[in-house]
């Protein structure tokens, strides 16, 4: 009987321990749809320092965390260029941010970013998340990872650009374009959150 009580106390102690430690078990970080995204000031391959405030006439922002080296980012490179060319005249520019630590992924160094932007004639700003403060604040987990913000910087959509990284001809949903169309009509994007395979953002251990 005594041992049973002892076990019971031990068990409840464990439960209490777990109750108090559970927030550490599941870190919840980053932005959710509906949150106001923080502005930033980052160095662009165009030579400028860029903040969202600079886009005076924007109706919103397509913030894309992407990089030179990830094959998924590469698969989406031309699609990101096309997306900007299509949506920027409507007031929705792409703002690309490279979140990897170049000391871990040298192919994503600022010089290499500049080279890539020049070579592919990026029509949008390509920014280095120097010090890696912006991507955790947004909660970006992979490249590519889109955060669609309206002009008040309210997050309206998080996720993939479309539903087929593998084969453009098989795309059935263009999530970002559909989300912008919904916002323009005063509706909530549906879906407002999608997931896709991508590369883990590279951080020094």
């Amino acid at each position: 009987m005594k041992t049973k009580t002892g076990l019971g106390i031990g068990f409840f102690a464990s439960v209490l321990f777990l109750l108090f430690s559970f927030p550490q078990l599941s870190p919840v970080t980053g932005l959710k749809v509906g949150d106001i995204a923080p502005d930033f000031q980052l160095k662009s391959t165009s030579g400028k320092m860029v903040t969202l405030k600079d886009y005076k006439t924007a109706k919103g922002y397509i913030v894309v965390f992407t990089c030179n080296t990830c094959p998924y980012a590469q698969a989406y490179e031309q699609r990101i260029i096309d997306l900007h060319n299509k949506m920027e005249p409507m007031g929705w520019p792409v703002v690309a941010i490279m979140p990897n630590d170049p000391s871990v992924q040298p192919g994503d160094g600022f010089d290499r970013m500049t080279e890539r932007a020049k070579q592919k004639k990026y029509p949008f700003e390509y920014l280095l998340d120097e010090g890696q403060k912006v991507f955790p604040a947004y909660g970006a987990a992979r490249t590519p990872h889109v955060f669609l913000l309206d002009k008040d910087r309210k997050v309206r959509y998080i996720g993939a650009i479309d539903d087929n990284a593998d084969d453009e001809s098989l795309i059935t949903r263009r999530y970002v374009e559909e989300a912008i169309a919904a916002v323009e009509k005063g509706n909530e994007p549906d879906p407002s959150l999608t997931k896709a395979v991508g590369c883990m953002i590279k951080v020094k251990k």
């Binding site: 076990l7 031990g10 109750l19 559970f22 084969d167 999608t194 997931k195 896709a196 395979v197 883990m200």
Partner: protein
């Protein structure tokens, strides 16, 4: 049909070129995540040849497979390589590495439909690892720094579970949100 896939993947000596199985549809793959009626522990690693951190940690899974050869553990390395790269990149890679662990490739491009089914906390970034035995599951997004970290992650599943362990595990699951 699904049973045949399972048999092929789970019982043949895998890792070799011939035995590598390609799942066109997540529906055919899903039974691998639901083998809960056995006391075997399943370690399912999602990787790709293009993913540097994944390739770096694959030897840890190989080492685990060898060190737990006598235990009820099934390690399955699930490649998420692009379909177009299966012949040109995945197969040569596997031929070179000759893994003793099972290898499969999942090429269902409807990722939005299946990422959550593997684990609701998963962003989709690679690598990622799911371990389960019966109804108890754990999931990790990101790489293991070394073999010991992976071993720690898996060993808890191999020891017989006491009642309070199972209950505590249920509680952790209860409070796990994304």
């Amino acid at each position: 049909m699904q049973k045949i896939w399972l048999l092929l993947v789970l019982t043949t000596g895998l890792g070799s070129l011939k035995a590598q199985q390609v799942f066109e549809s997540f529906d055919d793959f899903a039974p691998l995540l639901e083998r809960t009626q056995t006391d075997t522990t399943y370690v399912i690693n999602f990787w790709a040849t293009w993913c540097g951190p994944c390739v770096k940690e694959l030897p840890y899974f190989e080492q685990l497979n060898r060190s737990l050869a006598q235990r009820k553990v099934k390690i399955i390395l699930v490649s998420l390589d692009f379909r177009k790269d299966l012949e040109t990149k995945l197969k040569p890679f596997l031929a070179q590495r000759q893994f003793s662990a099972s290898v499969a490739a999942l090429v269902d491009s409807r990722q939005q439909l299946w990422i959550d089914k593997i684990d609701s906390s998963w962003s989709g970034a690679l690598p990622a690892t799911l371990v389960y035995r019966g109804d108890v599951r754990t999931f990790k997004e990101g790489e293991f720094d070394d073999f010991e970290e992976l071993q720690q992650f898996v060993l808890g599943f191999l020891t017989p579970k006491t009642k309070s362990f199972v209950i505590m595990d249920k509680i952790t699951t209860l409070f796990k949100f994304d």
